[in-house]
């Protein structure tokens, strides 16, 4: 059941400049599916809306959720100053997540770009646990390759950097091509230009692609209609050609959305 909860902070560390890893003690960890997200509420009275952040990892035995986020704007900067032993309000678990059943017996390519990399880690672990073959291709700006070791510990990992300081110089698609990585299905998260490129790439190769979208959110639970994406067909809930990213998404079949 979705709920607002005051969660204990277990750990908060900076992985790379401005990129933070936060571990929270919460029963929500037991329900989390890769691709889902939580809303983290800043505490300052000037900032009322939750910040949507994807689940990077979940330990259901210990009840620990991990998120990795960029402290870019005012709210995430505030959140990055919280220390272990403090608590923070979260809303969760939100969204649909990647469909693990649809990929049984297939090989999944996990494509993560920039701050879209973190959710791929939990995806990778879940696929492995379900005995599904996968490989990760991660695209970074430069050699600040946060979470790289975490991926390498669990699956075949390929790297692209925009500045060429490591792996393939360029995007995740460049790495796919250069490093000859192939598979049947794509799970992807990253900036919009990357997702658009993946949509075309998948269409070209005849692959199925599931992509995670972002939009500014107010409620996170489908009530405000703030966070829609355009869709190719009329959505079953809204009855118009758009879907709520916070409920019907954030993960969509690439061919279903008009991005």
């Amino acid at each position: 059941m979705k709920r607002k909860e005051n969660a204990q902070i277990i750990e908060q560390v900076e992985l790379a400049p401005g990129i933070w890893s936060l571990k929270l003690k919460t029963e929500m960890a037991k329900e989390a599916v890769p691709g889902q997200f939580i809303g983290i509420y800043p505490k300052d009275g000037s900032r009322l809306l939750m910040r949507p952040i994807s689940i990077c990892d979940a330990d259901s035995d210990e009840g620990i959720l991990r998120v990795v986020y960029r402290a870019g704007g005012s709210g995430t900067k505030e959140i990055s100053a919280y220390k272990a032993c403090e608590t923070v309000d979260i809303l969760g678990i939100l969204g649909n997540g990647y469909d693990m059943d649809a990929v049984k017996g297939k090989k999944v390519l996990l494509l993560g770009g920039g701050i879209g990399i973190p959710p791929m880690l939990y995806g990778c672990k879940a696929l492995k646990e379900n005995g599904i073959d996968c490989a990760a291709v991660l695209g970074y700006a430069d050699s600040n390759m946060f979470l790289k070791d975490d991926f390498e510990a669990v699956c075949d990992t390929h790297i692209a950097t925009m500045d060429g300081s490591f792996g393939t110089k360029g995007t995740v698609i460049d790495a796919l091509n250069e490093q000859g990585v192939s598979g049947d299905v794509i799970f992807a998260c990253g900036p919009m230009p990357m997702l658009r490129a993946i949509k075309s790439y998948a269409a070209e190769k005849g692959m199925e692609a599931y992509i995670s979208l972002e939009e500014r959110m107010a409620c996170g639970v489908g009530a405000c209609l703030g966070c829609v994406t355009k869709t190719v067909n009329v959505d079953h809930h809204t009855h118009v050609k758009n879907s709520r990213i916070c409920v019907e998404g954030p993960v969509f079949k690439a061919e279903d959305v008009d991005i």
Partner: protein
């Protein structure tokens, strides 16, 4: 202790309602707040046909509040009657349907369809700042407001609440115009018109440029307007704008609101409505208030 209030002959178990557009059709927040405890659920605005709304970004945070330019996306009244009303009917709460339209005919068409349902009240949104034609235009000119109210009223078999825009010089004039047009009740405030600019991109944050401004930041304007409106008319007033807790709700009631709506605060804490109900009861016990109606408009110099 009596917390029941009466709006145009409809009794609410308590004065706490949800603000249109911030609570979906109730379904989305039923997991967080027991709808049976609410005085009423006010639904997202619904029109005669589905509306796709505005392009994104549609929402953004501002200091102590938010801007929205949803553009009244809705699935249309037919889907609403098939799907949402049956869901709401299961609960022991009043159902108020918020109605939007571009033209008087669109409003009356929707109202006429809903006349056959067990909806308790209509709230007519004559004040949405986010749609190009209609809506706000109806809500900023007293004469147009009065005529539109009269037309909708004559199409309606249920009591009609007219929702007023705060983006006017004299809210008292607008309140009087609604009353003159036959409104059974008025509700206010809808959102103020606001703008946010991204200084790094030198672009408007919202695709619609402007958005409706709501949340705790707008409360002082809302309380003042509810006070002015309540003193201008004899029909009951529903107050809203930035209510986040029981203290805020009581401020509106003392200013003259018979009932109040919780809006943006649901996004900050989905349990707000229930906390407001409990807080009002605590206040009444603390000060020995036997009937909440004693508090309506009870502010003095």
């Amino acid at each position: 202790m009596n917390t029941r209030v009466n709006i145009a002959g409809i009794e609410l178990k308590n004065p706490v309602m949800t603000a249109s557009g911030t609570f979906g059709s109730g379904m989305e927040y039923a997991e967080f707040a027991d709808l049976n405890r609410l005085g009423a659920v006010v639904t997202k605005g619904v029109a005669n046909v589905p509306w796709a709304g505005n392009p994104t970004p549609r929402v953004t945070e501002v200091y102590g509040g938010m801007l929205n330019a949803i553009g009244l996306q809705n699935p249309g009244v037919d889907v609403f009657m098939e799907r949402d009303l049956p869901f709401l009917s299961k609960y022991d709460t009043r159902v108020i349907v918020n109605v939007c339209g571009h033209t008087v005919e669109e409003y009356t068409e929707t109202v006429e369809k809903l006349n056959s349902t067990d909806v308790d009240l209509y709230e007519i949104n004559l004040s949405c700042p986010n749609v190009k034609q209609g809506a706000l235009a109806f809500g900023q000119d007293p004469k147009v407001l009065e005529e539109t109210t009269r037309a909708i009223k004559s199409a309606s078999k249920k009591p009609v609440i007219i929702k007023l825009s705060p983006n006017v010089t004299s809210i008292a004039d607008m309140a009087r115009a609604a009353e003159a047009g036959g409104a059974d009740c008025i509700s206010l405030i809808n959102t103020l018109i606001g703008m946010k600019i991204d200084i790094n991109r030198r672009k408007f944050v919202l695709a619609n440029k402007t958005g409706g401004f709501s949340g705790p930041s707008v409360k002082p304007v809302a309380v003042r307007m509810v006070y002015d409106a309540a003193h201008a008319v004899k029909i009951p007033v529903i107050g809203m704008g930035g209510i986040s807790n029981a203290e805020d709700a009581l401020e509106f009631i003392l200013a003259g609101a018979t009932a109040i709506s919780v809006g943006t605060a649901n996004f900050h804490d989905p349990g707000t409505t229930i906390k407001v109900i409990e807080g009002i009861e605590e206040y009444m016990s603390k000060y020995g208030v036997a009937d909440i109606n004693e508090l309506v408009g009870a502010v003095s110099d």
